[in-house]
């Protein structure tokens, strides 16, 4: 009987000790906040499923490090983050087109990166169909990072602390393109921008409302712009020609489809964070929103593939322009743009 009590006491004590130990460790090393992919209440179900790419702090950290590592490019001058800058909502401030290795100028404007998990096709022409394989385009393009997967894998295998980071992220000694792309996606996929003033108003957050000017702008927007720039992403993800040129010098979507009706059409860009994503259009030809509105008012050219909705342009008087711009600025998500979690540390 006594023996039994002793055994029980020892057991209890050891369990208590174990518990104490683990508690101590927690106190010494503050628990890292787990990375999450959060879906704003006013967003639908995403297209990308993290079930096939289980999100972890180590995977996210690796993806972020890769995103900002210029050594991955041919002349070690350009990282993903070079053309996708956080303060520009991961677009490229003041660059009409992307500026790649060896000072090469690309042919299209670097798009912002956010809400990618809801997107089914990528790049201005929609040529890439999966978020995970999107980086391959920039990595291999001679005018962007100008390198190849083999070179990058060899570099990562021989450069500290990458082998350790891959092991922590995926639990294997292996470093291959699949894990590289999956970790990059753990970074780019969680870049969710859905907490602008607009979102707060739509979600009826307490104490947030549009000013009269913003509300008027929103009304005009819904009447004249939202057939293409559909809420809540402010794009319907379709490809259209908006009459920038009589004859487009960039074939656009038809490069992918081979269909003449797609010549000179481009993916409708999101207007979220538009305050910071200029210059605008696929070739970055407009530096200001005023130029963009002027184009829709009186600059639309009769391109043979012009979207029918723009046949007569979109007339906006100066008051309306001011109102629309006031509304567009409610699409700025400062929490996203300044979130240190996404910064190059």
């Amino acid at each position: 009987m006594v023996k039994k009590i002793v055994v029980f006491a020892v057991l209890t004590l050891s369990i208590a000790l174990m518990y104490a130990c683990s508690k101590n460790q927690e106190e010494i090393k503050p628990e890292e906040k787990p990375i999450t992919f959060s879906i704003p209440a006013n967003f639908p179900t995403p297209a990308y499923q993290f079930e096939q790419n289980k999100l972890s702090n180590a995977g996210f950290a690796l993806g972020k490090k890769l995103f900002y590592d210029t050594r991955l490019s041919a002349d070690k001058s350009v990282s993903c983050g070079s053309c996708h800058q956080q303060f520009a909502a991961f677009a490229n401030l003041d660059h009409k087109v992307s500026h790649g290795v060896n000072n090469c100028q690309g042919k299209r404007n670097a798009p912002p990166l956010f809400n990618l998990a809801w997107q089914k096709a990528f790049f201005w022409d929609g040529g890439v169909k999966n978020l995970e394989t999107s980086p391959l385009n920039a990595i291999t393009d001679a005018c962007e990072m100008g390198t190849d997967i083999q070179t990058i894998i060899t570099f990562l295998k021989s450069t500290l602390p990458y082998p350790d980071m891959f092991k922590q992220a995926f639990g294997t000694e292996e470093i291959n393109s699949q894990l590289l792309l999956k970790s990059l996606t753990q970074f780019t996929g969680v870049l969710v921008s859905g907490n602008s003033k607009y979102d707060q108003v739509i979600r009826k957050d307490a104490g947030v409302s549009f000013t009269e000017e913003e509300q008027s702008g929103y009304n005009i927007f819904r009447e004249k712009c939202s057939s293409c720039h559909a809420e809540p992403f402010f794009t319907d993800f379709s490809y259209r020609n908006n009459g920038l040129d009589l004859v487009s010098s960039d074939e656009g979507r038809s490069h992918i489809t081979g269909v003449q009706a797609d010549f000179g059409t481009f993916r409708i860009p999101s207007l979220r964070n538009i305050e910071y994503t200029g210059p605008y259009m696929h070739d970055g030809r407009f530096y200001s929103l005023d130029e963009v509105l002027e184009h829709y008012d009186s600059g639309v050219k009769a391109n043979k593939n012009l979207d029918p909705s723009l046949k007569n342009g979109i007339q906006l008087n100066s008051v309306e322009r001011t109102q629309i711009k006031a509304f567009l600025k409610t699409l700025t998500d400062n929490e996203f743009i300044k979130n240190k979690l996404y910064s190059e540390s």
């Binding site: 096939q52 790419n53 790049f123 040529g127 890439v128 169909k129 999966n130 978020l131 995970e132 394989t133 391959l136 385009n137 990595i139 291999t140 393009d141 997967i149 083999q150 894998i153 291959n176 393109s177 699949q178 590289l180 792309l181 999956k182 996606t185 490069h255 992918i256 489809t257 081979g258």
Partner: protein, 256 residues
């Protein structure tokens, strides 16, 4: 005493369960084994030698081959009674410059006599748009288009005096899965029932295919390198795919 009774109560169902499982295993007849796919590369009956030998296409034009690689996927075997077996995750990249790639052992096949084989020349629609892949489908293999997602199903590069491009290059990168330029093609062949593919635990047969690289340029449309010497997807790739669908593969014999 009491403790052991509890233990017994706990263990009994476990013992019973495990014994059940064993019984099932013993009564089951489905054993598994493997077979080998062997791809011998030729050009109109002559062995394919990269970079050196000059061949003639159906139009009588000279050409040399520097690169010849292609995907075989979704291998499906059928028995005479109509039952089929789709080899799961069967994606193979065969590359003339890598001899080991021309001899593929396919494992975990239910034993039996198979009288038909079919496979995709290329990669099925879904995988062209799937997330990051590894193994044969790893983009590192140079068979993935990064700017227009999708795999290059068949890649033939070479030279011809008739080619109008710089360095007289021939560039045939065949792929694309969206209509009207879908280039997914299927190869299938019946196997002589007198000598079927006999997969046994103690017998791992070898299927020997002759692969005729010149089949890209004849069969439905005779290609002249003066007019068609470069294609990376699109309508011209469909012309080539329609050609090789007819004559790229021929089952030569089976070693049982």
């Amino acid at each position: 005493m009491k403790l052991s009774q509890y233990l017994m109560a706990l263990l009994c169902p476990i013992i019973l369960l495990s014994s059940c499982k064993k019984d099932a295993d013993e009564t089951a007849t489905d054993t598994k084994s493997s077979f080998t796919l062997e791809f011998e590369h030729q050009v109109n009956g002559v062995a394919l030698n990269l970079n050196t030998t000059t061949y003639k296409n159906a139009k009588g034009e000279d050409f040399k081959i520097n690169v010849f690689k292609y995907y075989v996927s979704n291998v499906k075997l059928s028995k005479a009674d109509g039952t089929t077996y789709l080899v799961p995750e069967s994606y193979f990249l065969i590359d003339e410059s890598k001899p080991a790639s021309k001899l593929i052992t396919v494992g975990d096949i239910p034993t039996g006599d198979y009288t038909k084989i079919e496979y995709t020349i290329g990669v099925d629609y879904a995988r062209n748009f799937a997330g990051a892949q590894t193994g044969a489908l790893d983009p590192i293999n140079g068979m993935f288009w990064t700017w227009n997602s999708g795999y290059i199903f068949v890649k033939m590069e070479g030279t011809s005096p008739q080619s109008t491009t710089a360095n007289q290059a021939l560039t045939f990168h065949i792929g694309g899965v969206v209509d009207p330029n879908n280039t997914i093609r299927t190869y299938s062949t019946e196997i002589n029932s007198a000598n079927p593919l006999r997969i046994r635990t103690d017998s791992k047969p070898d299927m020997h295919f002759i692969v005729n690289a010149a089949a890209l340029f004849t069969g439905t449309t005779d290609v002249s390198f003066a007019t068609l010497n470069f294609t990376m997807g699109g309508a011209n790739s469909v012309i080539v795919a329609n050609n090789y669908a007819k004559g790229l593969f021929r089952l030569d014999h089976i070693h049982n």
